[in-house]
């Protein structure tokens, strides 16, 4: 005789403990954002604030022009996400489903592009942005002016396409059954039609993933926007958050308040995007 107990209870218990371990820092961040300076410096640290300093949020927002930063970050993140989805789906599809000479080499080249760290690429990238022909007072050889520096172009275009996204889409298009494509072809559908109308709707989970990751990376990007802009009205939210960390001390409560606010859009986006992880063929997985 089996004892009567619900295996789901065990599952919930396991997942619940895991979930708590995962969200502790986030909760701690919120609690810290509501503490006074004396509270934050206390040893040992207390879980709950002695006094709940809600004004930290207003003070943090007043510390820098966060309205502008937020708008800029949002604009850039949406720009990156949209462009990345459009270009990377096409590239990933072509690499996965159409046989042509040099496909493997091209694919390996895409992977190789991820293998050089940012810190070494960033100086050449800066020079390319500055030498952009015809922009910012430059001549046709990219001389004389400032190119794309200090413009929306440089904030949006260079980071808009990621090898990560192309690679992810390639893997997802690879795993689709060939029968679908052949059926569509017999119906007289062209290659682009098969891509756009048959195959891409089936990789919605991948689209959700790429959208989420692209938005998040763009939202958290700090070094590039800082280097290529000099004007405050083009700066982004992470640059604003970095200002709380002064050379000799950190404004912890403001930093945590600002970081909490900066995380909210990503949580919302996640809860929205994760809905797409139920479509396609799947229903129940393993019981």
């Amino acid at each position: 005789m089996k004892p009567r107990f619900d295996p789901r209870l065990v599952l919930h218990l396991l997942l619940g403990v895991g979930a708590v371990v995962m969200v502790v820092p986030f909760v701690w961040m919120i609690l810290t954002s509501l503490k006074s300076r004396a509270d934050i410096a206390a040893y040992p640290p207390q879980l709950l604030p002695d006094e709940w300093v809600w004004s930290n949020y207003q003070a943090a927002l007043d510390y820098a022009p966060f309205g502008t930063y937020f708008r800029n970050s949002l604009f850039i993140a949406i720009g990156h996400t949209v462009i990345n989805l459009m270009l990377a789906t096409m590239a990933g599809y072509a690499l996965a489903r159409v046989p042509f000479r040099g496909r493997t080499v091209l694919f390996m080249a895409v992977l190789a592009m991820m293998m050089i760290p940012t810190y070494t690429k960033i100086v050449p990238q800066y020079l390319i942005a500055k030498g952009m022909p015809f922009f910012g007072g430059n001549d046709y050889l990219g001389r004389g002016g400032y190119g794309w520096l200090d413009s929306w172009w440089v904030l949006i275009i260079p980071g808009a396409l990621t090898p990560f996204a192309i690679f992810l889409f390639r893997q997802f298009y690879l795993s689709l059954p060939r029968e679908l494509e052949e059926a569509a072809r017999i119906d007289g559908m062209g290659e682009f039609g098969i891509f756009a109308r048959v195959m891409t709707p089936l990789v919605k989970p991948a689209i959700a993933t790429v959208a989420l990751v692209t938005f998040e990376n763009s939202w958290n990007n700090f070094l590039w926007p800082l280097l290529v802009t000099t004007r405050d009205d083009l700066r982004v939210i992470q640059v604003g958050l970095a200002a709380f960390q002064l050379a000799e001390r950190t404004e912890w409560s403001y930093l945590m308040a600002g970081s909490t606010l900066a995380t909210v859009p990503m949580i919302v986006l996640f809860l929205f995007a994760q809905r797409y992880f139920v479509q396609g063929f799947a229903t129940a997985g393993i019981k």
């Binding site: 300076r37 004396a38 934050i40 410096a41 206390a42 040893y43 640290p45 007043d62 510390y63 820098a64 022009p65 960033i122 100086v123 050449p124 800066y126 020079l127 390319i128 500055k130 030498g131 007072g137 430059n138 001549d139 050889l141 990219g142 001389r143 004389g144 002016g145 400032y146 520096l149 070094l223 800082l226 280097l227 000099t230 004007r231 405050d232 970095a242 200002a243 709380f244 960390q245 002064l246 050379a247 000799e248 001390r249 950190t250 912890w252």
Partner: protein
């Protein structure tokens, strides 16, 4: 890939890089007015200080006054932080678009001056020492030429808890290394299980290099020999590191890992340390974390002393780019930012130590005891840097000091290795 093809790819890569650099830097200069007689033009300022909305407000108010004085000059400000200053400097200089006026730290002057990135300022040391302490002027000078004028100083010295000292019947802060160790041992508290609850002396809350160096200077050591060779394995320097090692390993007046620079709470403010090697800014941190300590005057300061008193002096200096199109306007801005009014505002905003002698009598300095203490002791201030390779060398100090504090190496071994590395870095140029 065959050998020939590999080298061809390499050659092509170099050619491409060359082309990239040429396009980026070698463009024709914009033909704006270069009439040196008239102070005019649009100039750009890069500043790692004046962070946040408060700092920006302060700087913009000062720049408003500058504009009144020089109506034909417009200043575009790029705000950054010390954490990302090098990235900003590197890309802007590599891109051939340097800032006209750059504010930078003490160690930056020699490398930038040696590589021709900075313009000589129209100042002489003889004139400057009339307005500044000689020790404050020196970090801006490279090979007898003045490249930077100081705006503010960051100083490191001893801080102690008067109440904890009084409780133990200790009347004065330590005046030599032996006393430092003795008081440290006496004021260390451990609980029943041996856990450290109060460090007698906290040498870990301040950047380790900037803790070690004032100890070394106080012990009579120097960074460089008279002919410019590294001297930080001299007996005096080894003695200073030995002191730190003794505090941790022999006296156990503090445990390695007890705290670290930038921790949310400062042990001295928490009552978890009786004294520390700290920064003048720490007074501000204490005022935020435990305001009553400052109000009730429980924080005292002392110079680190053994062979001589010593204080670590860093700071922010204003420089002009050698490539500035409007050097006259840029130099005018440097003079303006370093004058009484603007530099006082900058120091006040950050809680730092003004560089100008005349500001010792300002309301601000009188109200900030740490700044006051630092200004009174500028004769015993020592600065790091001095050689172009310093920025490369300084990064290795931390690990060397830690290896001694952890007992992996003796202080002598650790500093010998550090010196050898520094020699190699200097030789490389």
């Amino acid at each position: 890939m065959t050998r020939t093809r590999g080298s061809r790819t390499g050659a092509m890569a170099v050619a491409l890089v060359g082309a990239l650099l040429a396009t980026a830097c070698g463009g024709p200069a914009p033909s704006e007015d270069s009439d040196d007689g008239k102070v005019s033009g649009a100039i750009r300022l890069l500043t790692p200080i004046f962070e946040g909305a408060d700092g920006k407000t302060v700087l913009e108010k000062q720049l408003g006054a500058f504009k009144e004085k020089y109506p034909d000059v417009t200043v575009e400000v790029d705000y950054t932080s010390y954490g990302k200053l090098n990235e900003k400097l590197t890309t802007s200089i590599a891109g051939g678009r340097p800032y006209d006026v750059m504010l930078m730290g003490v160690g930056w002057i020699p490398p930038f001056a040696a590589k021709g990135a900075l313009a000589e300022l129209d100042e002489s040391k003889q004139d400057l020492v009339k307005r500044y302490n000689e020790r404050v002027v020196e970090p801006g000078i490279y090979q007898d030429k003045v490249y930077g004028l100081p705006i503010m100083l960051d100083t490191r010295f001893g801080l102690y808890r008067k109440d904890i000292f009084a409780e133990a019947g200790i009347s004065a802060p330590p005046s030599n290394f032996d006393e430092l160790r003795e008081i440290g041992r006496k004021l260390t508290v451990r609980d029943g299980s041996g856990k450290l609850t109060r460090a007698g002396v906290d040498i870990l809350s301040n950047d380790l290099r900037q803790t070690f160096l004032p100890l070394m200077w106080a012990n009579g050591g120097e960074l460089w020999t008279a002919d410019g060779k590294p001297a930080f394995n001299s007996p005096q320097a080894v003695g200073a590191l030995q002191l730190m090692t003794d505090i941790i390993r022999t006296d156990k007046s503090e445990d390695f890992g007890f705290t670290q620079p930038g921790a949310t709470g400062l042990p001295l403010a928490q009552g978890r340390a009786a004294m520390m090697v700290g920064h003048n800014n720490h007074l501000l941190a204490i005022e935020e974390q435990a305001p009553e300590l400052v109000k009730e005057d429980k924080i005292g300061f002392f110079m680190i002393k053994n062979e001589r008193p010593a204080m670590f002096q860093g700071g922010t200096l204003a420089t002009v780019s050698a490539k500035s199109q409007h050097p006259a306007a840029a130099k005018a801005l440097v003079r303006f930012l370093t004058d009484e009014q603007a530099s006082l505002a900058a120091n006040e905003q950050r809680g730092n130590v003004p560089a100008l002698n005349s500001l010792a009598d300002s309301e601000y300095v009188k109200s900030n005891k740490a700044a006051q203490f630092a200004m009174q002791n500028l004769d015993a201030a020592y600065s790091e840097g001095g050689v172009p390779a310093w920025l490369e060398i300084r990064g290795d100090f931390k690990a060397a000091i830690e290896s001694a504090l952890l007992g992996q190496k003796t202080p002598q071994q650790a500093l010998d290795e550090l010196t050898a590395k520094a020699q190699a870095a200097i030789a490389k140029g």
